[in-house]
């Protein structure tokens, strides 16, 4: 690495710490100011540098992290309102709107689809596995798993 890159690495370390801070604290009420403090940056410079690295402002990134967490929780079957609060949104309306804009589905529709897929996997796992592997599995395990129909 060049000298210039070592200097860049030092700056990056602080931006990356801020990104990890968002990852860890996304469920809390934080704003870009808190995060800039964490990174010891002026707010303006921080937001600009953050965006140049991650392609999103810290606020946009925070929303994206919350939506990703929400997807994971919805897949566990947690009720939508509880998911909304758990990932850090105050209002069900804004959660639903942001979620739909990002995934194309409302949280409840997303949950319905995912839970249906989970049930299908449990009922007929071989349908979700490439044919060659499934065939090998059936041959070697002598199992009573129902084959994909």
């Amino acid at each position: 690495m060049s000298e210039q890159e070592f200097q860049k690495l030092y700056l990056y370390r602080r931006i990356v710490q801020a990104k990890l801070f968002i990852d860890t604290h996304s469920a809390e009420s934080i704003d870009a100011g808190d995060i800039a403090d964490e990174a010891c940056y002026s707010k303006y410079h921080f937001i600009r540098t953050f965006k140049s690295i991650y392609g999103k402002t810290p606020h946009q990134y925070l929303i994206a992290v919350r939506i990703e967490r929400a997807r994971a929780l919805l897949e566990t079957g947690m009720p939508v309102t509880e998911v909304c609060l758990s990932v850090g949104f105050d209002s069900l309306g804004s959660f639903t709107g942001l979620f739909k804009r990002r995934t194309g589905l409302t949280p409840s529709a997303y949950q319905r689809d995912k839970l249906a897929r989970t049930r299908q996997i449990a009922a007929a796992p071989l349908a979700f596995v490439p044919g060659c592997f499934a065939a090998m599995y059936v041959r070697t395990q002598n199992s009573n798993i129902r084959e994909a129909s």
Binding site: M1, I121, I145
Partner: protein, 137 residues
């Protein structure tokens, strides 16, 4: 005519630990986690921007692809860091390197400029290694 690669297998020593590494450290998405009877677990993950490529985190299972001796040899080779499985791409090498280091990912090679690009080598929790390259800008 072949059109795409949609599955590739990575042989791992422990699927639970591999899940943690690929999902929580590398940030990959779980595609399919299917329990097939008491022993088999079909676990695949997608690189974040490739929903149609599944990396299968394949247990080195004595009953499936390996006999007992081969499985033991395979485990030994994987743990020794023998196998490199491919190249991951990132937008920003230094940011990605810093983040993965902070999460405890082991690098066999720190980022360096090579004639083929800015690249590093990271190792998964089993010992498998991957190049990490920065997307040319």
């Amino acid at each position: 005519m072949i059109t795409k690669l949609n599955h590739a297998s990575i042989f791992v020593l422990d699927q639970d630990s591999a899940y943690d590494f690929y999902v929580n450290k590398l940030g990959f998405k779980v595609n399919t986690d299917a329990q097939m009877g008491p022993k088999g677990r079909w676990l695949t993950v997608n690189p974040p921007e490739q929903p149609d490529l599944e990396l299968t985190l394949m247990a080195i299972d004595e009953k499936m692809m390996f006999d007992k001796d081969s499985a033991a040899k395979m485990r030994e080779l994987v743990a020794a860091g023998t196998f490199g499985f491919g190249t991951f791409l990132c937008d920003d090498m230094l940011a990605t390197y810093e983040e993965l280091k902070a999460k405890g990912v082991h690098f066999k090679k720190e980022p360096t400029h090579e004639f083929y690009g800015f690249s590093a080598v990271l190792q998964d929790d089993s010992g498998n290694w991957f190049s990490l390259s920065e997307r040319p800008k």
